[in-house]
């Protein structure tokens, strides 16, 4: 086979692989993603569907309940009606009232039940180190 042709075939193969992979990437990312919602939107959301909730923990609302905790969250701007949340398992260090959290879970009987190991607490605003991975 002459080298020109060989190169062309190689290029076509490489490009097709790249295209296939990107299609898979795009397709799975839309199906694997969880919709993000704020507490006020979740109050009227469909029960049972998994959402990624971003909200602010209401100060003084955290209570121990069995092996887990129960608390309430409001929208990040601090407004709107609060949503009751339960979570089982250990919580990250920075977790407490007034902090913003991200939690994946679903609504069950009007309460947002968080999936274990998905609670993320944002560090406080004073914590402005650029990158503290």
């Amino acid at each position: 086979m002459d080298p020109q042709r060989k190169r062309k075939i190689r290029l076509v193969v490489a490009l097709s692989v790249a295209v296939l992979l990107s299609v898979a990437l795009i397709y799975t990312s839309f199906s694997a993603s969880t919709e993000a919602k704020e507490p006020s939107q979740l109050l009227s959301a469909a029960p049972g569907t998994s959402y990624e909730m971003t909200g602010k923990v209401v100060k003084g609302s955290i209570h121990q309940r069995g092996a887990g905790i129960a608390f309430r969250v409001v929208d990040r701007d601090g407004r709107g009606e609060s949503l009751p949340v339960t979570y089982t398992g250990t919580v990250p260090d920075p977790f407490r009232g007034g902090r913003e959290i991200v939690l994946t879970g679903a609504l069950r009987g009007g309460t947002f039940v968080g999936e274990p190991e998905t609670l993320i607490t944002k560090c406080p605003s004073k914590f402005t180190t650029k990158s503290d991975a």
């Binding site: 990437l25 398992g89 260090d93 402005t128 990158s131």
Partner: protein
């Protein structure tokens, strides 16, 4: 002092602009202007150093008239953290960015003071332009001037978040910054090369070292961040695919690709467009990392500063991307390479594959990181991707990379015949096969297919690399004699770039083994135990021996002693949770201990084969109830209301006396605060008697230590590769570009000789290659 600082900062801004102007106006061979421009950059560096010194002196001397000090430090902050508190602020980070850039620029210009005459002026302009941008931000953007003052100055500052008070957290940000910043240098020289159409490998030779330094800093910064997360946060993980982590990983991956592909340009004059695009991409990713942390467009566990500088940085990224792309497109004709890859079985072909893998990895991470924005654009709702999605794609790509980490070093440049390939692949393939069989027979590794594949590939790569060292040392020994270790040292120190790179490969393979093992075979369990109770996890008996309590002025600590027994061997782990008062607050109600941060003090037994990790979540509701009651009691005492308990008659009397005579007030308050701390002690100690349940997060993490060891090995490799060559070539005059070219070709010939002596090149291959190289060398000599 603040006004002096402001003045110096403004002067630095002018110096950066002046250096750029001098460089650009003198670019057609006006040596005096170019020299002056370089010295202005040194002055710029001096001015910023003075600015940093002023801020640091303010931190050290608790000068709370500086806003930055009042916001991020306090009198009680330990000295070491005072000095490091600068970069916990947005303005301090910007100052650090600009300062590190000024140092790197000065070093780059010093190193090239007699070289690259056409290119340096443009590179100077780019570097000082970027520096002026960051200094300008501090001067003109709202609220990010490090010399902002507070009037009147507060008596004490707010202090530094206790979570941040960890040694590795203090070096982690400057490491990452230095990494981000140092990529400016190769970027600036690449732009200079494109503008002047000097597109051979000279800009690469001049800045390769800086790219390697940037890469090493960034990598070390990432490693420190992971380590901090693992040991300090009560989470037990080291990586979460969080946007800010990804933002630091992406330039590192592209930088890795760049470091490999520039070798192909150096040796073969190929991949020029690719290299230019890679460094533009790497630098843009570094800026994007800086931007992401500052903008709040993506949800992250990393808190974002105020949204004041984000848009400006985004503007800079746009300018960089559009400008560079236009420049590369306009130079496409000059960037075309004359040569083609000879064979798919050659080192350059493997480098190309490794580049594609690294870029694909970056693309996947980029897509996942920005998916919330992408999905909002297309579907109208923000949706995000979690760690499993990232794992699905990054795992196979990383595994393929490990394979090529092993293949690359085994192949010679240009082409490898079937015979020599067979010779070098024999042992590594055999070891990989034995590893596979052993894992299938004796381990449970096959339950996790990806991990299994990675272990086999890593065995292949590590054997291949070991063989390289062995054959190199043997070849040297046959040349000069002596002992094998001496020959090993000799061959490494004479070929630092090559063997430094191999050491990095070993480190990365070890690190990936650690990641694969700890993520695939981890046991992670939440246990709810009361004192004296035990549970069995993964063949281990975990016993909650007893609760412990510690009290200080700053925090209350509720801890525990846990015993872990396995096969008759017992280890004791102590872990606890500390409840801090709000930063900067001393004294106050007992309840204030629960108003500040809470941190986990992790119990960790690190081992070569596995780590046992534990963090508690104590049930302190009974303690908190008592604290509330005590605080109510104190309030009642102080108020002296009717019906106050009899014990606090004395306190009430003191407060009445203080009300009558204000000079007694401090005495009374001191007395009360003493009583409060006594009460706090007593109540805290009641926790031990409560016997309440604690939720333990208990993790058995196999081979996680390999990650840290692998990372350090890789860092050591980078240092070996960076270490300046010494010996017979030191005195060689490398003044002109032709000299440098000649040197590079000689090195290539020596490389080929080593490859031949080490048996990597067959006699025929070597004869062909040597003839080619010598012909090329003669061509260069003719030009000289």
């Amino acid at each position: 002092m603040p006004s002096l600082g402001s003045a110096l900062l403004a002067l630095a801004f002018l110096a950066a602009l002046a250096a750029a102007a001098l460089a650009l106006t003198g670019r057609h061979g006006d040596r005096r202007r170019i020299d002056l421009s370089r010295r202005t950059v040194y002055a710029f560096c001096g001015l910023l150093t003075a600015c940093v010194a002023i801020v640091e002196i303010a931190f050290a001397g608790d000068d709370f008239s500086f806003n930055i000090v009042a916001q991020h430090s306090s009198i009680e902050t330990p000295e070491f953290y005072k000095l490091a508190a600068m970069w916990s602020s947005q303005e301090g980070s910007l100052l650090l960015w600009a300062w590190v850039l000024s140092i790197a620029s000065s070093a780059a210009l010093y190193a090239t003071r007699n070289k690259l005459r056409e290119l340096v002026p443009w590179a100077t302009a780019v570097m000082t332009g970027v520096a002026a941008f960051f200094v300008g931000l501090m001067l003109f953007a709202p609220d990010v001037n490090p010399f902002q003052t507070l009037s009147p100055a507060p008596a004490d500052g707010i202090g530094l978040n206790p979570l941040l008070q960890h040694p590795s957290m203090m070096i982690h940000p400057p490491m990452l910054y230095s990494g981000y910043v140092a990529f400016t240098i190769p970027f600036a020289f690449a732009i200079g090369a494109l503008l002047t159409r000097r597109l051979d490998a000279e800009w690469i030779r001049a800045t390769r070292r800086f790219a390697l330094i940037a890469w090493a800093f960034l990598g070390f910064g990432l490693l420190l961040g992971a380590r901090w997360s693992y040991t300090e946060l009560g989470w037990g993980g080291y990586w979460a695919w969080d946007p800010v982590e990804n933002a630091a990983l992406m330039p590192w991956l592209l930088g890795t690709a760049f470091l490999h592909s520039i070798m192909v340009q150096e040796k073969r004059g190929m991949l020029k467009v690719w290299n230019a695009a890679l460094i533009v991409g790497t630098f843009s990713m570094a800026l994007l990392g800086t931007f992401l942390v500052r903008s709040g467009v993506l949800q992250s566990i990393h808190a974002f500063g105020d949204n004041t500088v984000g848009p400006y940085i985004l503007g800079l990224i746009a300018v960089v991307l559009i400008g560079s792309t236009a420049l590369i497109v306009s130079r496409l004709d000059d960037l075309r390479s004359q040569k083609r890859i000879d064979s798919l079985v050659s080192r350059e072909a493997v480098f190309l594959v490794n580049n594609l893998l690294l870029v694909a990895l970056t693309a996947v991470i980029f897509w996942g990181t920005f998916f919330p924005l992408i999905s909002e654009l297309f579907t109208g709702t923000k949706a995000s991707l979690a760690a499993p999605w990232f794992d699905t794609y990054t795992t196979p790509l990383a595994i393929a990379l490990v394979l090529f980490t092993g293949i690359g070093p085994l192949l010679a440049w240009r082409r490898v015949s079937w015979a020599s390939a067979k010779r070098v692949f024999r042992v590594p393939l055999a070891v990989a096969a034995v590893t596979a069989v052993a894992l299938i027979l004796f381990g449970d590794a096959t339950e996790q297919l990806w991990a299994f594949v990675l272990f086999v590939f890593a065995a292949f790569a590590l054997t291949g690399l070991a063989q390289e060292f062995w054959r190199g040392a043997a070849a040297r020994r046959s040349l000069v004699g002596g002992s094998l270790p001496a020959a090993l040292v000799g061959v490494v120190s004479r070929n630092r770039r090559r063997y430094g790179g191999y050491v990095v490969h070993i480190g990365i393979a070890v690190l990936l083994i650690g990641i694969a093992a700890s993520s695939s075979f981890q046991t992670n369990r939440d246990l709810t135990l009361k004192p004296g109770e035990s549970a069995v996890v993964d063949g281990r008996k975990v016993t909650y021996v007893k609760p412990t309590v510690a009290v200080s002025d700053e925090y209350l600590q509720f801890g525990n002693v846990v015993r872990i027994e396995r096969d008759g061997k017992a280890t004791t782990l102590r872990s606890s949770r500390r409840y801090f008062r709000p930063t900067g607050q001393e004294g106050g109600t007992i309840g204030s201990f629960f108003e500040g941060e809470a941190t986990s003090e992790v119990g960790l037994k690190a081992g070569f084969l596995r780590d046992e990790w534990i963090a508690p979540q104590p049930d302190i509701s009974a303690v908190q109830r008592r604290v509330r009651a005590a605080d109510r009691g104190f309030r009642a005492c102080v108020g002296g209301a009717p019906g106050t308990p009899s014990q606090c008659k004395a306190v009430a009397a003191m407060m009445r006396a203080a009300a009558a005579n204000p000079s007694l007030r401090p005495v009374a308050l001191a007395q009360i605060s003493k009583l409060q701390s006594l009460a706090a002690n007593r109540i805290a100690e009641s926790y031990v008697r409560d016997g309440s349940a604690t939720i333990f997060k208990f993790i058995v993490n196999p081979l996680v230590t390999w990650m840290w060891i692998g990372g350090l090995i890789a860092l050591m490799g980078a240092l070996i590769a960076l270490w300046p060559a010494r010996g017979r070539r030191r005195g060689a005059l490398v003044r002109t570009e032709a000299d440098a070219l000649k040197e590079a070709k000689y090195r290539e010939i020596r490389d080929a000789e080593l490859d031949h002596a080490a048996g990597k090149l067959s006699d025929e291959d070597f004869a062909l290659l040597d003839a080619e190289l010598r012909k090329e060398a003669v061509q260069i000599l003719d030009k000289v």
